[in-house]
Point group: C2
Chain length 398, copies 2
């Protein structure tokens, strides 16, 4: 059979992990803290129903929703992004600076296609989002990890590695990071934008969780400190609207967006217009703000229940991250416990999580005691039951 | 500013053409035979309205439509593809052989990502679909054209070029080709599949138009003659359901589909679930067959009116393709007329088409007398008005 491209073998390890993640969602009796999905109760089904009902008529808008669209995205939705999502963060974008994509993942794919040559270096956080690593590997980049602590990326380490490796890009999720739940502090955000400008490196800022804040004060994005256009800000509608709609956006300097337009055209022409039209209408009708309050309330309760379980059910020597938002906490067990082998015992007790080593690109064996616990998709009472099961599994190994 | 990857400059010429195509759709007074969109009257707005109305409830299906999905696609839609779209063509696919993508273009992107290394050769028809060329160039492939005649790809030339260039892939639209409207005959389809097997070359068969047949008898796809798995069959729901939904599918050997799954995951996770669920339901309710009859009737009338105009309005020395289906005819003017310079005169008279040279990867100056005329998106009475304008513009130059 005809040979696959070399890039395919590069991505194999991460691809296997991700395939397992998708396929492990199966057993209905298992309480899974594994997936990264938001609460099903937070999906605005009725509102989307009503909008679809009114939009899908043989008027201009109904036809528009089903016909070919422009690769930039539906103007109404780009306007919404600029006015309702970027402006409140202190980001002043124009219509030529924003392009709609088919979900958050696609942003990473498009930006990689625009910039990465085989052998280019991409710096990431340790730990980081495994699907982003898979994409960088698919473009044959060398992915190198930078140190993080409870305040996010350690800037000195980033600068040292920029000097050492001359990377093309630094990939960062500054707020309620996946998988760690940590947030990069203000000073480091500023420093990161400045590093991008000083060394002419792309800072790829991925921001899917910042709207899902349950406590503490919002921080301005890295992009707000960017004076040269080196920071590219990408985001997703998955958490604040619906994951299945596959919508997201890229905000960058217009000359970069013009090139992304070409790459987007060659990837899949444009995002689903039907989904775009419904999403824009969702914002235009003023449904977003009350919806956001509702999903914050739902997920805040889950965060609170989860962190209470972590504190009261797990042995006291366990370290965990208290997240001010997002969907994840990060748990570090004593070094003698291997979370990959532990997972079989957890599955037997009908509970699941993702072993921490999967989120590291180097030095994985040193993180065999970590796990990512996702609380977004599990109802509060099931969080208690699941964490009780997990605590039992862990204690049996101590 | 950080440098773009080399692949970006490779694609520049075709990207410029495509951007112009998208942006030329503007002026409402111009009758455009330029775009490749199907008739707006053929979009099943009411049916999609009713389905969305019933599917989007807080039941299992409504939640499913908005939540993350599997990269393979929604099982219902894959089953529909297998039973309703592939089986009638004599293609016997299993569930592991079919993956749903975000529109037809994305298939070319995914297959390229799976197979193409920089410098690999891809053989295409002369003329061919310009967006496919753009994708192959984005993967830094060398795109080489093979001869075509009124029966499609000239097989001897394909075989000679396989021997000369050892290509990774042959890209072909065998039925109602874009841009020429031509169809590859039965014998050549068989020969093409055999060439793929004999030389271990991927035959990428793109089939977006075959359901839109208005006269003549259906031909089996190239894939139906494939005994080794070297042919990959890709298709789109754009013409038979809705372009704006961005849905398509890939049918290939399961071991190839397993790899495409990984690449799809890294591109954008999966196609819009809402669009997939609505599309599957459209088929399951038996709405597809009457819809297909309706869109064939609409487009057959347009084809008939267009070909009547070509015959009666254009000067007799003009050559044209009579298409048995699809959206395009291909017109060759006397050599002394340059269709690129003519386009400015056409625009002044409020009519548009695409100059033929844009569809060639080599020897473009030799096709400066050609044009692609798309009749799918223009109402019959407007076809007459537009062709009258175009005939005037052409005659003024003769």
């Amino acid at each position: 059979m005809a040979k696959f491209a070399k890039r395919i073998s590069n991505m194999q390890a991460s691809a296997d992990v991700i395939r397992q993640l998708f396929e492990a969602m199966g057993d209905p009796e298992t309480i899974s803290f594994g997936g990264g999905a938001p609460a099903r109760e937070a999906l605005p089904v009725e509102k989307i129903h009503d909008i679809a009902n009114e939009v899908l008529t043989r008027e201009k808008r109904g036809i528009q929703a089903l016909q070919y669209g422009n690769p930039m995205g539906v103007p109404d939705l780009r306007k919404t992004v600029i006015e309702r999502l970027l402006a409140p963060k202190g980001l002043k974008a124009g219509m030529d600076d924003v392009l709609i994509v088919s979900g958050g993942i696609e942003s990473m794919n498009l930006v990689s296609q625009l910039y990465l040559e085989p052998g280019d270096v991409v710096l990431v956080e340790a730990p980081t989002f495994v699907q982003a690593v898979q994409i960088f590997q698919l473009f044959e980049a060398k992915v190198i990890a930078c140190e993080t602590d409870n305040n996010g990326l350690v800037i000195d380490d980033v600068e040292a590695k920029i000097r050492q490796y001359s990377p093309k890009m630094v990939y960062v999720i500054p707020t309620f990071q996946n998988p760690s739940g940590r947030t990069t502090n203000l000073e480091r955000r500023k420093a990161l934008a400045e590093l991008g400008s000083r060394y002419d490196v792309i800072i790829l800022e991925d921001d899917p969780y910042s709207e899902m804040r349950y406590s503490g004060e919002p921080l301005p994005p890295v992009k707000s400190f960017d004076t040269t256009g080196n920071t590219i800000f990408v985001n997703s509608f998955s958490k604040i609207f619906s994951p299945g709609s596959r919508l997201g956006y890229i905000y960058a300097k217009d000359e970069i967006v013009r090139k992304i337009y070409d790459v987007k055209t060659a990837t899949n022409s444009h995002a689903s217009v039907l989904a775009q039209v419904i999403c824009a209408e969702f914002f235009n009708r003023g449904l977003y703000e009350p919806h956001l309050k509702m999903i914050r309330d739902i997920h805040r309760e889950r965060r609170d229940v989860m962190m209470d379980c972590v504190k009261t059910m797990l042995p006291p020597e366990i370290q965990s991250v208290y997240p001010d938002g997002g969907l994840f906490t990060w748990v570090e067990l004593p070094k003698r416990i291997n979370t990959t082998t532990l997972l079989a015992y957890a599955h037997a007790k009908k509970v699941a999580y993702v072993p921490g080593r999967e989120f590291f690109v180097e030095d994985r064996d040193n993180h065999d005691n970590c796990m990512r616990i996702s609380f977004g998709g599990v109802e509060p009472e099931k969080i208690r039951i699941g964490m009780d099961r997990l605590a039992g599994v862990i204690k049996a190994k101590l």
